[in-house]
């Protein structure tokens, strides 16, 4: 169930309350941006996807079924918006293992308390999951990076339980192979 204040906020937004909508944007813009960034692997595209998503939420909130969970509904809009953008981005070359390995080392050595450099993080995410097909990528990001429960992944990705399992299985297999190649490269360098 939704937290009571979120429930109220949504009720206000459905009545056209812009202040309540501002509150909602403040509440969710960082986690929503993180998801868009992980899907797109690009700062500017993620910013645009975030804005587009919240505008769509404002437009469509009247059609939101209040008996359901709000966050998966919003994330579904965000995931679709991000995937649409991903399709329009020109095909990008695969990030070389050496570069991923370098960035990984730099991040490991950095102070854990410091904020990540977006550029480095984008290279790392694209290096690990960039080669995955659309559905596998979405399921992997939602389940293994965002740590969402399978039921939410099904709602956001609009997939059945079996389909989520199958996509996750294939995604993990590819990510594991990629990670092991990165680690092997790291070992050779050191």
């Amino acid at each position: 169930m939704m937290p009571e204040n979120l429930h109220e906020t949504i009720a206000c937004i459905r009545n056209g309350d812009r202040t309540a909508f501002r509150k909602l944007v403040t509440m969710y813009q960082q986690p929503a941006y993180r998801l868009a960034f992980r899907i797109l692997g690009n700062e500017e595209e993620a910013r645009d996807a975030l804005q587009e998503c919240f505008i769509k939420v404002w437009q469509k909130i009247g059609s939101f079924d209040t008996s359901r969970e709000f966050v998966p509904w919003m994330y579904r809009i965000l995931a679709n918006t991000s995937l649409d953008r991903l399709r329009t981005i020109k095909r990008q070359p695969t990030i070389p293992i050496e570069l991923v390995s370098q960035k990984l080392e730099a991040m490991q050595q950095a102070d854990p308390a410091t904020q990540a450099d977006n550029q480095e993080l984008a290279i790392l995410i694209k290096g690990i999951a960039g080669m995955l097909p659309e559905k596998q990528k979405l399921v992997f990001i939602l389940r293994d990076l965002e740590g969402m429960p399978s039921a939410d992944v099904e709602l956001i990705a609009d997939l059945t339980e079996d389909s989520v399992k199958s996509n996750l299985y294939h995604a993990r297999k590819k990510v594991r192979e990629r990670l092991l190649r990165i680690l092997e490269k790291e070992r050779k360098i050191s």
Binding site: R34, A46, L50, A116, R172
Partner: protein, 178 residues
Amino acid sequence: MNCRDVIEHLDRIIFEEVPMDAGLRQHIETCSSCHQAYTDALKARETLDLVRRKDPVLRDPDEIMKNIMTAIRQEPQITAFVPLFLQRMLAAASVALFLLFGYEQYVVVKKVTALEQKFSETTTNSNYSDPQQLSSTFDISTAGISFSGIGRLISTVKGTSPLSFSSLKKQINQKEIK
């Protein structure tokens, strides 16, 4: 636990962060290749953890907020809640109606063309002075269309040369006006 079980277990170690069980521990202590695979899995898990922990920095969130708030002033909200099953039903009904009327239109056009052609052939090959004969020769049922009053219309035209159905109608109209 054997080597195959360990490999199957590795995904859970990397992605689900499950702790090592006693069987796995016992096996990797004696099997060097599985020990290496397990060590690699732990490192892979660390890499994923690093990616999980690091949030991308949202620069200038105020600008994003401003853009969103400006945009929504011009965007109307969709107020009506239409359940998904109803949306799908309406979409299906639209498609069904489109197909039905599209097909009907196609059938009518086809029949009128056939009718027109048949009439044209009939008037080219024969010189009918008897309107009744013309009407009966012009077998409407063969063309497969019910066109009320067509016999009456045709019978008003006598000794026609090859002409199309539309020009025939035009002539009829002119006669009726007179």
